[in-house]
Symmetry: C2
Subunit: 79 residues, 2 copies
């Protein structure tokens, strides 16, 4: 089964990579871009298992390994 985890910076945390992209776009004619923030998209291919089990596996893995809880949040999404 497929599942996805989105890891993003918490609001208020500085995102230099996003700011760089944003400034570049603004300086190159895209004045309508107000802000850009860049996160991670992690796609999992898991063995078949109950949905609740997959969700708890991914929540555990994300909170302990994939996201830095001090500055990042994550969201688990299953189709």
């Amino acid at each position: 089964m497929k599942a996805r985890v989105y890891v993003t910076y918490k609001p208020g945390v500085l995102d230099p990579q996003g700011q760089t992209v944003c400034q570049f776009l603004q300086n190159h004619g895209q004045a309508k871009v107000r802000d850009v923030r860049i996160g991670k998209l992690i796609e999992f291919d898991l063995e078949d298992m109950p949905r609740a089990e997959a969700e708890s596996l991914l929540t555990e893995v994300s909170s302990s390994l994939l996201a830095n809880p001090v500055i990042e949040t994550f969201r688990v999404e299953m189709p």
Copy 2:
């Protein structure tokens, strides 16, 4: 208005970062993880504009700047 762009490797393109995460998880008791692939999630804050205009702006920006068309694909998502 808010919009998101997902940038992922094309199928068949090697993803060393994803493989590393996958192997780590397998070696640490998560045998049910078959594969992991890591992509980018880019969140935009745009000035208000028609949906079609935003979609074409993001498609242009993504194909020319954010994604490497040789190895990556992207998907634009608007709420």
